[in-house]
Symmetry: C2
Subunit: 431 residues, 2 copies
């Protein structure tokens, strides 16, 4: 199908989907879970085709591991769907209510965004997670998965579409697109698509942000910082920096730059180096760092680089203010952590750091939808509007203003016959 | 100053502004109110220059009226600032809290967006309203007012900058730009500006949306609909349609298209015509409409047109579903109203209409920040994300995720030594 037609079909479906009740949606989620269980053998067979082809194409071991979708992962996906069914219905919630005048009541009520385009990496479980989140929040979804997972994605999307549509969800609510040129077509569908959530390599996300009029929620770089303050517990700082850098290097919430207050640098940096050496971390230090431990010289470019590797840039700073300035200048506004016991420093750091996630005495690696207790996540946003940090169900919702009158007209208020009362109300929206 | 430098200065100021306490901001608002009062004569003199020049340039009476900023309007502006001072501090509010594990607490806390660019029409009171809303929400602001108000805007911006900066607000938080080419430069400042809110003509807003990577919150068209259902109280429908169309035609929330259920069209349309004729409203009807009352023929283009004038397009529809489809196809997603006594029809209309404001038995003209009780408004949004409808203080805020740990590292959770508890908490953020 042409991408424009497919997006238009998703838009149509999204309109009806907005009016589908909670029970029907939960029944559909149940039907999807059952269908995944029933079709497990076929899914695993399709996934084996993807795995075999990718092995021949010499895909690296970590990528092969992410691509694998076996019985255990299917079970996890089903558990995810089951926990989503348990959540309160997110659509139609009254967020606020105001009595504007007698019999004139205003309600701010949650509703779906409409059609969400999601581009994700080669992890088939992501397809299940994202589409079930969209269904729970009454959004239609257009999915583009990693090309390595093409067979697995296809069978999963078919199973989900068929099971949900048989359970009363409007046909066309879930659409799968397959090629990079499909994505380019999708970027032009601003008439039909309300939001794009891209995941994956930063170049690709940047490309999408630069090539569409559709709002984009996501992050390109993840240049995260840890700042070790003069009042840090240095053993704790070693543990937090090591975890932030080394626990999993290929991800956006791994630390790329360490800032150290000059009054502790001489004691701290040699301790840290012992810990990082166990992981063979390559260090790039400023002049002051190089005077304390052996590192390669850090250039201006290092402060702007997301290594996604066992590499760390290090800068010694003269003050908390210098640390804050450095972070606000070079950070990708993802996640920054301060290690200190000085509460005044914490307050300043947390107020002035212009990032979506600001941590105190904790590893940057905690920035994640599951770890935050959001359940599933559709992505991590470094945007400054709508949603920041890990985006779960809530980021897929917006609101409408619903006004109930009894023939009220503005002329009566403009000419002074009536006036507004504007009383906050505890009422839930009702008809 | 170069626009890039000015935007960079605003960004710098916005960082410090995020950490300014409620008392200092309220003192600054008080100082602004006092300074407006003290400098009233100079403001009125500057405004007279603008008025005199605009009269020579043959500006129309309604525009001259909006441009006028006299003692009464200054008093209104001061009252607006005073009521803003009374509002609860919006920054630093804990929106949710989760205990992730022992001593590992996550808080979602409201914070300013950063730097807001606002482009507004020739109403000097808008400058005062927008800048005080930005100050209350700790955002820096770059203002571009209508060129007719250039002298008034200049003195107002100077007074606000000077009074607030003397009261402890970071220098540079309010910036005024003056020309259309300044705006073009501003659209390129995505490094410094976080959000643009354009008001004014739809071509201009569309131009801005198409020419910047900065997120834009606003609306281009206002193509609002009233649907008169088969179960409408027809007297009420006449009043609501007349008010929606005629109470003030030059605004985005005026109705442009009327949809009428065929079973009441024969009775209703002649009654409506008597009412609209008093305002000399020019009518453009579909074939069925033309068979009942005399109108010009409506073309496909009429359904897409924001007349902003005493003109109304009319379509007779066979069902509620046809009305909903027509609206979702042609509406600019601003405001739509249904007139009916059928609660089932209302429920369907309110769930399926994909617009920011959906009304029942009330005029579309109620869609407005003041009428909604939001206090001031910075604009009306037809976006599907972040904020919809009239945007007040709340639309100028976003949140950060703040995590407090005690040296917590992710490795402990990945290797199974620890596990997450994810308990909802009632705690407010504390250090």
């Amino acid at each position: 199908m042409e991408i424009q037609n497919l997006a238009s079909e998703a838009k149509q479906a999204s309109i009806s989907l907005a009016g589908i009740d909670a029970q029907t949606k939960n029944n559909a989620l149940k039907a999807i879970a059952d269908a995944l269980h029933k079709n497990a053998a076929a899914i695993i067979a399709a996934n084996k085709e993807d795995l075999d082809r990718s092995e021949i194409e010499k895909l690296g071991t970590p990528l092969l591991k992410r691509l694998k979708y076996d019985a255990a992962k299917i079970k996890e996906s089903i558990e995810g769907i089951t926990s989503l069914m348990m959540l309160t219905e997110p659509v139609g919630e009254t967020l606020s209510a105001t009595q504007l005048d007698k019999d004139l009541e205003l309600f701010k009520v949650s509703c779906p965004i409409g059609v969400i385009g999601v581009i994700f990496e080669s992890r088939p479980d992501a397809l299940v997670q994202i589409s079930s989140l969209c269904l729970k929040s009454s959004n239609a979804v257009i999915l583009k998965g990693g090309s390595e997972a093409v067979k697995t994605n296809k069978i999963l999307a078919e199973i989900i579409a068929s099971a949900s549509e048989n359970a009363g969800i409007p046909k066309g609510w879930i659409q799968l697109i397959e090629t990079r040129s499909d994505v380019n077509e999708m970027l032009k569908c601003d008439e039909y698509i309300d939001l794009i959530i891209p995941r994956g390599s930063n170049e690709f996300v940047q490309y999408i942000m630069n090539n569409s009029n559709i709002p984009v929620l996501g992050h390109a770089d993840g240049i995260c910082h840890v700042y070790v303050d003069k009042d840090a517990d240095l053993d704790m700082a070693v543990a937090v920096v090591t975890d932030s850098k080394c626990q999993y290097v290929a991800v956006c919430n791994a630390a790329e730059t360490l800032l150290v207050h000059e009054s502790v640098a001489k004691t701290f940096l040699p301790q840290l180096k012992i810990s990082l050496d166990k992981y063979n971390v390559e260090l790039f230090g400023c002049d002051k760092t190089q005077a304390i431990i052996e590192t390669k010289p850090a250039t201006e470019q290092d402060w702007k680089t997301e290594y996604l590797d066992y590499k760390l840039s290090i800068k010694v700073v003269a003050s908390l203010d210098e640390a804050i300035s450095h972070i606000n200048k070079y950070s990708s506004k993802h996640t920054e952590s301060i290690v200190t016991n000085d509460k005044v420093a914490v307050a300043k750091f947390m107020a002035l750091i212009d990032s979506g996630n600001v941590f105190w005495n904790a590893s940057t690696r905690f920035c994640d939808g599951f770890r935050y207790g959001l359940g599933a996540e559709v992505g991590i946003s470094t945007n400054k509007i709508h949603a920041r940090g890990p985006v779960g169900l809530e980021g897929l919702l917006i609101y409408k203003w619903l006004l109930k009158g009894n023939g009220h007209i503005v002329a009566d208020y403009a000419n002074g016959h009536k006036s507004f009362t504007h009383e906050n109300s505890k009422k839930k929206f009702y008809i």
